[in-house]
Symmetry: D3
Subunit: 61 residues, 6 copies
């Protein structure tokens, strides 16, 4: 039941999501020495006006 959460910008290509889910889940299964079926992934997509780096909104960069 390890849980991976990822926060980042929106990605619309579902094929990339499939590969990302595979890559992260395999890495976690190896790290925790558990079957991959136990690994849960949540991808969170943030609007550029809701994220800042160094006090600057991504929407303003």
């Amino acid at each position: 039941m390890p849980i991976i959460s990822v926060e980042g910008p929106k990605v619309t290509d579902v094929e990339k999501k499939r590969r990302f889910a595979q890559d992260l889940s395999r890495a976690a299964a190896r790290y925790y020495d558990m079957p991959i079926e136990k690994i849960i992934l949540l991808v969170k997509e943030n609007e550029p006006e809701n994220v800042s780096v160094g006090g600057q909104l991504i929407a303003d960069l």
Copy 2:
């Protein structure tokens, strides 16, 4: 000020949300031995293409 966050699929029935909020908040008030007014709940609803179990997107199951 205990905070409960729940990640899961979208539920559209607001009546179910009302009951869920009651159930979780009462359980937390009992557990922490605090008045229920102190309990905060956040429900997060995820798209099936943004969640995977065992490396497989929920959208693909």
Copy 3:
């Protein structure tokens, strides 16, 4: 695979944790209309100097 996370003060009574895990997981199984086996709970325990309400550390109240 719904995931419940709870943030609150430390509770040392494991029997209370057992009941809390049961209460929350049953409520979530009902809400999501899923078998209880799918429900994951994480309890996070915070030091009173690392939590504030209204700008005041819990440790100072």
Copy 4:
């Protein structure tokens, strides 16, 4: 790389977001004694039917 996450209701005024990002990031840079460029902020906006206080949905208050 300190990360600030804020959960609250939606705010549509982007100028307020700019100032909020500045205020939080400066406070974190001072607290951690790091350059402001290292501070990341995520603002999460929740629907009133997905938040409860004391077991009552915000949407019902």
Copy 5:
């Protein structure tokens, strides 16, 4: 009930925590146009072997 969570390295000076809690909570009260009493802050302190930037553990930098 807005909630601010901060992830960063451990800070042992409680006086700095007091000021940080004040700074963040005031900024959030202004942003959300709510009384400061509604603002909750959680500070999370991470070990340098449990954080990486660019694939490198902070403990190795």
Copy 6:
């Protein structure tokens, strides 16, 4: 500035952490099409009495 958070049991082997950080960060850099330097990872380690699956504490399994 994508952020990966992982919740799971404690792993004491730092060499495994190094590899895990590399694996996850590379996968995220590829997914987001960003330089790996932008990827932040937080590993959270939970006590078995603070996690439950299906309403059962991991500590009781």
